[in-house]
């Protein structure tokens, strides 16, 4: 284990990590009455940016205007603070398990350039899909499942089912 720790390949037991993760989610519901999320913070950032650059446009747009109100600044939302915590928590874990390093991770069969193009396209699709489903793997699937939301289960099955098929189509990118 010590050797693994030094090489940055030591990971906690998945069931222990899952239990910690589940307890954090449970405590979140107990304190706030809501679940966790990730894509919502990106949405708040985009809404805030557009509202700063082109306030008239944001006000007229059906979508942005849903999330703009005078008393609640879109940047000032729970999820943005939560993401600051996520970044800090992941950094801390990377620090103690010796994984802090700038790198592009990809299969030896492809170039870094190809990996980054696919990462960009994948991110864009995730951005669009998460707005449609009103949440991503965290906010819709995981937090939804924790409170037995039908939509949470449906979105979870759609994400993993589709990814399973398409991962084989893009197999070269991964293994």
């Amino acid at each position: 284990m010590e050797k693994n720790k030094k090489s940055g390949t030591f990971y906690l037991n998945p069931y222990l990590s899952g239990f910690i993760f589940g307890m954090v989610l449970l405590i979140t519901f107990v304190i706030t009455g809501r679940g966790m999320g990730a894509s919502g913070a990106v949405k708040s950032t985009v809404v805030e940016a557009v509202n700063t650059v082109a306030p008239g446009h944001a006000e007229k747009s059906v979508y942005y205007s849903k999330f703009i109100s005078d008393d609640a600044h879109p940047m000032n939302t729970w999820l943005v603070f939560e993401v600051i915590g996520i970044l800090a928590g992941a950094f801390f874990s990377g620090l103690i398990f010796n994984r802090l390093k700038f790198k592009v991770e990809h299969s030896p069969k492809i170039t870094s350039r190809r990996r980054l193009i696919f990462a960009l396209l994948g991110g864009a699709l995730f951005g669009i899909g998460s707005q449609l489903a009103k949440g991503c793997t965290s906010g819709a699937a995981l937090s939804g499942m924790a409170v037995l939301s039908l939509g949470g289960f449906i979105t979870m099955m759609a994400i993993f089912g589709t990814a399973f098929i398409f991962a084989w189509i893009f197999k070269k990118n991964w293994i």
């Binding site: 928590g89 790198k103 899909g129 998460s130 037995l148």
Partner: protein, 197 residues
């Protein structure tokens, strides 16, 4: 009944964002320590060489699900005050499919890409740039998506009600299924050739 604490007024609203940072820290730590900062480890679930995503995801969902049902059962938590992710049938399925394609191309989901970014993964940073672009495209083209976005609204519908079983029976059955999947996944992992990453 005292929970949920902030909606019940036990903890003042002003503490909300402080808890957001603390709870986010736990979320980020749990994900990174499990290996969710590596896209090739995450994608392993789909090729059978590493099922960490399946194991962590279902363990977390079941832990939180049973915890909430238990706290509600002993009368500490008012389940009706919890925010139930609303079900919009069409957009939940189509949005999920779009995310699934993005997942298989990008190797991350939004939460795990934050973890990758935090430890210096450049592919995770680019994935996040893509996310911002995707959200921007969706917002600008919203009139095109509006009908789909709002269709099939079932509100805060519970999966247990749709299946006609009690909440606790559903949670029990899902737990049994998950344990079966964990055994199956471990068996497959042993059969599949290891991938170095």
């Amino acid at each position: 009944m005292v929970a949920p604490l902030i909606p019940m007024g036990v903890i003042p609203e002003s503490w909300n964002n402080v808890f957001a940072v603390i709870l986010g820290f736990g979320f980020g730590f749990a994900l990174e320590s499990a290996g969710f900062s590596s896209s090739r480890k995450i994608i392993g679930t789909f090729f059978g060489y590493d099922f960490v995503v399946l194991k962590v995801f279902f363990t977390a969902a079941i832990t939180a699900m049973i915890g909430l049902l238990y706290l509600s059962y002993i009368g500490w938590l008012d389940y009706s005050l919890l925010y139930i992710h609303p079900t919009f049938l069409a957009s939940a399925i189509i949005g999920g499919i779009v995310m699934g394609i993005g997942f298989s191309m990008g190797g991350y989901c939004p939460g795990t890409s934050f973890c990758g970014m935090a430890i210096g993964k450049i592919d995770a940073m680019i994935f996040m740039v893509g996310m911002v672009i995707g959200v921007f495209i969706f917002s600008e083209a919203f009139p095109l998506f509006e009908k789909l976005y709002n269709s099939g609204n079932l509100g805060g519908k519970l999966v247990s009600d749709s299946l006609g079983v009690s909440k606790s029976l559903f949670a029990f059955l899902l737990t049994v299924v998950a344990i079966g999947m964990f055994y199956g996944a471990t068996w497959v992992e042993k059969k599949v050739r290891k991938v170095e990453y």
